[in-house]
């Protein structure tokens, strides 16, 4: 088969769709090895070890993310709730939500998640309660600064649970005229996070 032909996708045409088999360019990376072949290294274990070496920086990185969140909160206070300040606050909270557990602060994650939900699902951004925003940001900072690592701190767990509860009550009230939307945002996540090991 010529190289040109090998690079063409195989297309089967049907009444309302086409099924395309693209050339498999990743085949080059697949190695078939015998089951009893000696494993040179475990790529997952090696990646985890590499990540562990990076962990010395995580405290500083988390601090930087907290400063970013606090700065976004101050911008909201100074300029009011508008698309720019709301986006900055949401992105800062969203990044913390995604990274806190990796950085060793799993109890920060639910607080950041709750703040994201508050910003994203309040129908009118002007109605986002700033007092509740403050409480979320302060909670993120407090849990981080107390160096509450791991997931067993009772105070941090209670704080996260309380903030989530108040936020969900607010969202249920704010979206009471939009039952379909409310049902959507209360649906369980389709993609639960995966255990780290």
């Amino acid at each position: 088969m010529s190289e040109k032909k090998a690079n063409l996708a195989a297309v089967s045409t049907f009444a309302d769709h086409e099924v395309i088999l693209p050339p498999n360019k990743l085949k080059k990376a697949v190695q078939k090895v015998k089951p009893d072949a000696k494993v040179e290294f475990d790529p997952v274990a090696r990646a985890e070890a590499a990540l562990a070496e990076l962990a010395a920086d995580f405290t500083q990185w988390m601090e930087q993310e907290c400063i970013r969140l606090d700065t976004a909160r101050k911008a909201v206070k100074a300029s009011g709730l508008n698309q720019g300040t709301c986006d900055a606050l949401f992105l800062a909270a969203h990044d913390i939500k995604g990274q806190a557990a990796t950085f060793g602060y799993p109890l920060v994650e639910p607080v950041a998640d709750s703040l994201c939900r508050l910003i994203e699902h309040t129908p009118d951004m002007k109605r986002i309660p700033l007092g509740l925003v403050d409480q979320h940001v302060d909670a993120v900072r407090a849990i981080t600064h107390r160096n509450t690592r791991g997931d067993s701190d009772a105070n941090a767990t209670m704080l996260a649970g309380k903030l989530r509860h108040v936020t969900e009550e607010f969202l249920a009230h704010a979206n009471r005229d939009r039952p379909e939307y409310l049902e959507q945002i209360l649906a369980p996540a389709l993609a639960p996070s995966e255990p780290s090991n």
Binding site: A9, S12, F14, A15, D16, H17, E18, V19, I20, L21, P22, N24, K25, L26, K28, A29, V30, Q31, K32, V33, K34, A37, P43, V44, R46, A47, E48, A49, A50, L51, E53, L54, W61, Q64, E65, F90, L91, H94, D95, K97, G98, Q99, A100, A101, T102, D113, C116, Q184, I185, A187, P188, A189, L190, A191, P192, S193, E194, P195, S196, N197
Partner: protein, 181 residues
């Protein structure tokens, strides 16, 4: 048994957060990849995609300028670039049902919810390399086949027209490797 030679794969990582890019680069290097390119937003990501011709794209969702979803839609334009079939792994803090479905409908190949783990990332890469999916083009969709498997208990109407031959069985490399030689 199958093994992925990461050294032969070129990755493009698109995330506006420098810490997350560093984590992804560290994990990919740990797997054995040498070529990891980075971009900090969707626009730079599209430019990097054209310039570096990556084998696999890993993108965040929430980014300034244009986001990971819009980037995916731009890549999945047949004829608009050199490789509209490139596997796209969306790594995101969004895990809600509507988000996962939106990502799937934009043409994302794999979805990986944060927090990231070495195992989760490895499994997604293994899947796109060893189990490549056919692409489907309709009036409103172009991307990997959203039917990952045939459900023998499905009792609803057939939404794809064209008879029973509309699903082409493609033996995954993983199965091929498992079968005796």
């Amino acid at each position: 048994m199958i093994r992925i030679d990461f050294n032969r794969l070129r990755f493009l990582v698109i995330d506006d957060n420098a810490h997350m890019r560093r984590i992804l680069r560290t994990l990919l290097h740990g797997f054995g990849t040498r070529e990891v390119y980075e971009a900090e937003d969707g626009a730079a990501g599209l430019e990097g995609f054209t310039h570096y011709s990556p084998d696999i794209v890993i993108t965040d969702w929430a980014m300034p300028i244009f986001d990971g979803l819009e980037l995916t839609q731009m890549i999945r334009q047949p004829g608009a670039n050199t490789n509209p079939y490139v596997p796209i792994i969306m790594l995101t803090g969004h895990s809600e049902k509507k988000r996962v479905i939106a990502a799937r409908d934009a043409g994302v190949t794999e979805f990986l919810a944060k927090p990231i783990s070495a195992k989760g990332l490895y499994q997604r890469v293994l899947n796109v390399v060893a189990n490549p999916r056919a692409f489907i083009r309709t009036k409103s969709y172009f991307g990997p086949d959203r039917r990952r498997s045939a459900n023998p208990n499905y009792a609803g109407p057939e939404r794809r027209k064209g008879g029973k031959a509309d699903v082409i069985k493609q033996q995954p490399l993983l199965d091929k490797a498992k079968s005796p030689t």
